[in-house]
């Protein structure tokens, strides 16, 4: 029992609710949002410490032993994701201070933002299938609110698609839970794992696994990503950044959890399917990224590519692949938030998102330009920035498991990603300067801090990969060895 486990959910939730009560106090909102992110970050850091020294931390809510109550479980993977989430969200919210606008602030931007984080954190922590669904819904409902916040016509138009797709996904999630319950009679993931292991992952169980894969793929944008580009280009930048950084990751996390903890018995079927889906995702995403001359579109398709690449590591189902994926997952969260923020700033300055209409910004905004350059390199895994280790090990993982095609696609698409982001760099920052400072529609004032901080983070994650190694290793060990998780959750009461 460890009540700290619940803090990443409770802190943003309570503080957000307090903000709802004191609606007009914007300064209070800002202070509380920072407080909440640092709070969850602190809790996550402490959890990492505990997980490292004491093993997987669990909390049986209400004191009901698993599998009857709901278990909250923090293993190293969750803890790492939690801390990354906190950091990324912190900078996104700081960016929002200057960019989101008074009206949105008064219409519950910060509370909704925190609620989103609540849902995300909840999904990372929970050890119960149905509770995962509920956490998903918390996240999704907040995201519906955030994506429509402001009610501009493009937001409304795209959010309808987003909402509908997610509603259907939720239904499918529920029917998957229903089937699962019929077959196994339990909802606790550890218990599920045990029961599945007991009878072996037969045909029907594999089919259930596929429904779950389908549902989570929808959330993660793995293969079923068609809803993603539109919806991520609609909301205000701060929101888009946090979406790009976090929302797909929840789906990815869920895929990881399920296909390492529960449905890991038939990797030649399930993981191969994941691999094929990842490959198609990468290819289509990369094609989308190079196809357009619109910053928002390029960036959103890059989100898609990232998803495919991370899951390629899972598909390999090897230590190396997993290690790479976890590194890449953390990298991707940071970098997607960063590139969306910078992209937003560029669009704000130029007043357009069309690359043909902008040029030579580096003359007036050199720092922004170089930040973007570093980000662009990092996003395509150029060493020694943060994507590098992930890229190397995911590739190694796919090679080791014999999926050479998957690794090759990963590398080729990373080149296409580089091409697409460099296209932004070369078109918007290089070339003749056509926009004098007076003509600019936006400013970089006040938003450079989060950008610089995140750039430092991506450099730091790359150069300091060693610092993370121990933790990632523990996380991989946990993933490859489900009995640790089961032991931690069920303890001696395993049936």
């Amino acid at each position: 029992m460890n009540n700290i486990v619940i803090l990443p959910i409770i802190i943003p939730m309570i503080l957000g609710l307090i903000m709802v009560i004191f609606r007009r106090r914007i300064m209070l909102h800002r202070v509380l949002s920072i407080l909440s992110m640092t709070g969850t970050g602190g809790a996550a850091a402490y959890l990492i410490y505990q997980v490292k020294h004491e093993g997987i931390q669990t909390l049986q809510l209400g004191g009901w032993e698993a599998p009857f109550g709901v278990s909250m479980v923090v293993d190293m993977l969750s803890a790492l994701l939690l801390i990354t989430t906190s950091i990324v969200a912190l900078f996104c919210v700081i960016y929002a201070f200057k960019s989101i606008g008074r009206e949105r602030e008064e219409h519950y931007f910060y509370p909704l933002f925190l609620f989103l984080i609540t849902g995300v954190n909840g999904s990372f922590i929970t050890g119960d299938v149905f509770n995962l669904f509920v956490c998903f819904e918390v996240m999704l409902i907040s995201s519906y609110a955030l994506i429509t916040l402001g009610g501009k016509s493009i937001q409304l138009r795209e959010s309808i698609k987003y909402v509908l797709v997610n509603i259907i996904a939720s239904f499918l999630f529920l029917i998957a839970i229903a089937y699962l319950y019929a077959v196994t009679g339990t909802l606790n993931m550890a218990h599920l794992s045990e029961r599945v292991a007991e009878v072996g992952q037969g045909g029907l169980m594999t089919a259930v696994a596929i429904i779950f894969l389908f549902v989570f793929s929808l959330k993660a944008g793995l293969f079923l990503f068609f809803w993603l580009p539109g919806s991520y280009s609609a909301p205000p930048t701060a929101v888009a950044a946090v979406f790009a950084a976090l929302l797909t990751k929840v789906g990815i996390y869920a895929i990881y959890r399920f296909f390492t903890l529960v449905f890991y018995h038939e990797p030649q079927v399930t993981h191969l399917i994941i691999g094929i889906m990842a490959a198609v995702t990468m290819v289509l995403g990369a094609m989308g990224a190079i196809a357009y001359k619109d910053i928002k579109k390029i960036l959103t398709y890059n989100v898609v590519v990232g998803v495919g690449f991370i899951l390629a590591g899972l598909a390999s189902f090897t230590d190396a692949g997993m290690t790479g994926s976890i590194y890449y997952l953390m990298h991707d969260m940071v970098i997607k938030a960063l590139i969306f923020i910078i992209g937003g700033v560029i669009i704000a300055i130029a007043g357009t998102s069309n690359l043909d209409d902008m040029s030579g910004l580096i003359q007036t905004h050199p720092y922004l330009g170089w930040m973007f350059f570093i980000t662009a390199l990092s996003i395509s895994g150029i060493p020694p920035l943060s994507g590098f280790i992930g890229k190397v090990y995911i590739t190694e993982g796919t090679f080791t498991s014999g999926y050479y095609w998957l690794g090759a696609i990963g590398l080729i698409t990373s080149l296409m990603v580089l091409f697409s982001v460099m296209k932004i760099f070369m078109n918007s920052f290089w070339g003749e300067t056509i926009l004098s400072e007076e003509m600019e529609k936006g400013t970089t004032r006040g938003v450079m801090f989060p950008i610089v901080a995140l750039v430092m983070l991506t450099i730091g994650l790359g150069l300091g990969a060693e610092l993370l190694h121990d933790y990632v290793e523990i996380a991989v060990e946990g993933l490859m060895n489900p009995s640790l998780y089961i032991e931690a959750v069920l303890g001696g009461n395993a049936q």
């Binding site: 149905f130 669904f133 509920v134 819904e137 999704l140 409902i141 519906y144 609110a145 429509t148 009610g151 016509s153 493009i154 409304l156 138009r157 795209e158 959010s159 309808i160 698609k161 909402v163 509908l164 509603i167 259907i168 939720s170 239904f171 529920l174 029917i175 839970i177 229903a178 089937y179 319950y181 019929a182 909802l187 539109g230 619109d294």
Partner: protein
């Protein structure tokens, strides 16, 4: 019973899907509602039906139907309600702002 329910649920899903695939926003919402009924019935069916009395102690029954799916459905119904509310409001706002409830006209390639 369970088999018949499965077929009923299948019919719900089919009808709901067909509605969702139409153009009008309202029909789409109706479709999601029908599917949601299907989903809820599916959960309770998958929990096994009519295996005992209502899950209330002290009313004389000795065996009870599985209460867990009921609790799950309850939660699901509420969440579905919240989602439907948002979706409804969203669609009428879109109708007001975009001037149409025809999703075919909401492609959104024209103004970019």
């Amino acid at each position: 019973m369970e088999s018949l329910m499965s077929i009923l649920i299948g019919v719900f899903f089919a009808i709901g899907t067909y509605l969702i695939l139409t153009k009008s926003l309202l029909r789409i919402i109706l479709g999601t509602s029908i599917i949601s009924h299907g989903v809820h019935l599916l959960i309770i069916t998958m929990g096994g039906v009519k295996a005992g009395g209502p899950p209330l102690l002290g009313l004389g029954s000795t065996s009870f139907t599985d209460a867990l799916p009921q609790a799950l459905i309850l939660t699901a119904i509420v969440i579905n309600f919240a989602t439907t509310a948002i979706f409804l409001v969203l669609s009428y706002r879109s109708y007001k702002v975009l001037g149409t409830d025809d999703t075919a006209q909401m492609r959104g390639n024209e103004d970019e």
